[in-house]
Symmetry: C2
Subunit: 347 residues, 2 copies
C-alpha cells in the first residue's frame, strides 16, 4: 500500500508508492549519457574559446585566460540574466514584470576532460567549494541580487549541454519560490518553538537512523522522509548555519568528503546516473527596505543544505498538474541500498 507523506520544510505532499517499489536494478536505465563534441571549450588550453574568466585558481601562478588553472569561473556565453541592465520593476495591467537583471556564471571544475565529480579528489572538491563561496560573497555585495542559486547538471537527462564537469551560478533579483517556501516554513516553526526546523529534522533522522546514508564530524547525509525522487539525498551541516558562505575552509574539507562519498554511492548503486545538485542557502539580507527584522531572523531559523537528485524517473502530467510527486522508492529502502553500496561494486 502506498503512503502520502508531507515534507515538513516545503509542506509539499508526495506519494511513496510501495506497490511500484523500484529497486536499483529497475532504476538503472543505463549509464548517464553525455553530449560530447569533438572540441571541448572547457578543457585546459582552450581558454581563448570561452568568455574571459572572472577568476581562476592558479596554484602555480600564470596569466588570466591561459593554461595552468585548477578551477576557472567564466560568464555564461548565453546568460539568462545580465548584470549590465539596471533593475527595473514595472506593472503591465494586472501583471508584474522586472528587467532581466542578474548574473549567470559557469564554474569549470577541472582542467582535464573529467565528467563526474564523484571521480574527483576531495582536495579538488574543497577548492571548488572555496571558489563558489568567493563568488557568493562577491555577488551578494550587489544588493540588486536577492538570491544566488548554485547548481550542477550532470548528464543529458539532468539538463547538461556540455559534458565537461562544471557548475552554474545564477544571481537573481528575487528570492525564488522554493526558497521562499522553505524560509516561510522555517520562520513559522521558529516563531512557535524557538528552534530551527532543519535542526529538528536532523535530530529526528539521527534518532531513528532509518534514512541515514553517512556522516562525519561536521555533516550528515540522509534520504528525506518525503523524497520526491528515488535516491534523493540531502547533505546538511550538523551545527546550525544559515549560510554556505559562512563555512570555514576546514569545514569545506569535511563537506568535500561527504559530497564525494554520496556521489560515489549513487554512481555505484545506480550505475552512474545523471543527477542535479542544488545549493539552498540564505538569501541576501542587505538593502531591502522595511524588512530588516525578517531578514535578520533568517540567521536563527534557516539552515543551508545541499539537495542531490539522481534523474531516474520521468516527470509527467500528474506531477506538472499537482506539483506533487510519485516516488516509487521509499527513502528507507534507498538509504539502505546506499549504506550497503559496497555490495554493488562489480570488480
Amino acid at each position: 500500500m502506498s503512503e502520502l507523506r508531507k515534507d515538513p520544510i516545503t509542506n509539499r505532499w508526495v506519494i511513496i508508492s510501495q506497490e511500484r517499489s523500484a529497486r536499483p536494478s529497475e532504476l538503472r536505465t543505463g549509464e548517464s549519457r553525455h553530449l560530447e563534441n569533438s572540441f571541448c571549450p572547457f578543457c585546459e588550453g582552450h581558454e581563448d574559446k570561452t568568455t574571459p574568466e572572472i577568476l581562476a585558481l592558479r596554484a602555480g601562478g600564470g596569466n588570466p585566460n591561459s593554461p595552468g588553472w585548477q578551477v576557472r569561473v567564466i560568464p555564461n556565453k548565453f546568460p539568462v540574466l545580465e548584470s549590465a541592465h539596471d533593475l527595473k520593476r514595472y506593472g503591465i495591467g494586472l501583471y508584474d514584470a522586472m528587467s532581466g537583471t542578474g548574473a549567470h556564471e559557469v564554474v569549470i571544475e577541472h582542467p582535464q576532460h573529467v565528467l563526474n565529480m564523484a571521480d574527483f579528489e576531495p582536495d579538488r572538491i574543497q577548492e571548488i567549494l572555496k571558489v563558489i563561496k568567493g563568488r557568493l560573497i562577491d555577488l551578494y555585495k550587489d544588493n540588486r541580487f536577492r538570491f544566488v542559486m548554485v547548481f550542477k547538471n550532470y548528464g543529458v537527462s539532468a539538463g547538461a549541454s556540455i559534458a565537461h564537469a562544471h557548475s552554474q551560478i545564477i544571481a537573481l533579483p528575487i528570492v525564488p519560490w522554493n526558497i521562499k517556501v522553505e524560509l516561510e516554513a522555517a520562520r513559522t516553526h521558529f516563531l512557535r518553538k524557538e528552534r530551527c526546523l532543519f535542526c529538528d529534522v536532523i535530530k529526528q533522522e539521527f534518532m531513528t537512523r532509518e534514512r541515514m546514508v553517512a556522516e562525519n564530524s561536521d555533516y550528515v547525509s540522509f534520504t528525506p522522509f518525503a523524497s520526491r525522487f528515488p535516491f534523493e539525498v540531502t547533505i546538511a551541516p550538523k551545527k546550525h548555519a544559515c549560510r554556505f558562505s559562512d563555512m570555514s575552509d576546514e569545514s569545506f574539507g569535511h563537506l568535500a568528503f561527504i559530497l564525494k562519498d554520496v556521489l560515489t554511492r549513487l554512481k555505484v548503486t545506480l550505475n552512474d546516473p545523471a543527477y542535479n545538485i542544488i545549493l539552498h542557502t540564505a538569501p541576501n539580507i542587505v538593502g531591502r527596505p522595511g524588512m530588516a527584522d525578517y531578514w535578520t531572523s533568517i540567521e536563527l531559523d534557516y539552515h543551508w543544505h545541499l539537495q542531490i537528485m539522481p534523474r531516474l524517473t520521468k516527470v509527467a502530467g500528474f506531477e506538472w498538474g499537482t506539483g506533487f510527486y510519485i516516488n516509487p522508492t521509499p527513502p528507507e529502502e534507498a538509504s539502505e541500498f546506499l549504506r550497503d553500496y559496497e555490495n554493488y561494486i562489480v570488480l
Copy 2:
C-alpha cells in the same frame, strides 16, 4: 534582453529569455515518440486484457467488457492510490503522513489505435468530456477525496507509457499544492476586489489580444503572460465557473471544438510534439469540518481551466532548485505562430 514575469495566479516568477528566443523550427526536435508494443490492451476486442471496466459509453448497447464501446473507463492496473483503504492520518515524530487512499482510473478514449486527440472528431471529444464529468461527480460523492486530478500524457517525453489515446483520473485525499496556491491567490484577489482573478486575466487578454490563440462563443485559448514552457496554452470558459463538472453538454460541444483546435495548431506548428493536458477545477467542498465558508467562497473566486503544455524543453537543476522556469519563447511569439498555423502545413 530577458524579462522576469510573475504569474498572477500562482505568484511564480519565470524568466522569458528573449536572447535564447526559440522559434518553432528550433523546438521541433522531431515527432513525439510513442511506446508501441505488438499488443495493445486498450484496443477494442482486448477488453479481457484490462481490469474490469467502471463504465463504458456504448451507443449501440452491449455487455460490459465486450466490444462495441466508444469510450471506456477502467481502474489503473498499477494504481498509485486505492479506495479500498480507510483514510488514516498520522504523525511520525515531526513528520505527517496519510494512508494511500484515493482512486486511479484510466479513460480509454477511442476503440481504435489512434494516438493523438488532435485527430479525433469534435463529437468524440465531447463524449469524452461528458464521461470525465460523470467520473468527477461520482468521485466527489466520496468525501475522503478532496481533489480529483484529470490529466493526459501524450508521447514518451510527456510521460506516456501506453501509446493508445487515454487520460488518467486520480482522486486525492488532499488538495494538491499547485491547486492550493491558485485557490489562495484567487481568494486574496476576491477579498480585495470582489472580482474573480481569472476573469480579470481573461479580460486583460481580450483587451491586448497579444497572447490570444482562438475563441468561440463560450471559451478562449491564450498563451499565459508568465508561461513556464514554450507554447503553453490555457483554455478557460469566458463566463465565470468554478467547476468543470457544472458545464452543460452543449458547453462541452464548444470546449471540444476549441480543444481540438489548440491541439491541431500545436501539432502543425511544432511537428506533433508530446504534450500534457491538465484540468484545474474546484476541490471537493463537502465534508470538511469548520471550513464551510472557505469552501463555499470558491464558487465566487475560483475559475476552472485547462493547461496544455507541449514538452519541448528539458527541465534542469535550475528549475528543480528554484521552482521557477526559463522559457526561451515569449508567449506573444508563441501565440503569433499558433494564430498563423496554416503557414506551417506542409502539403
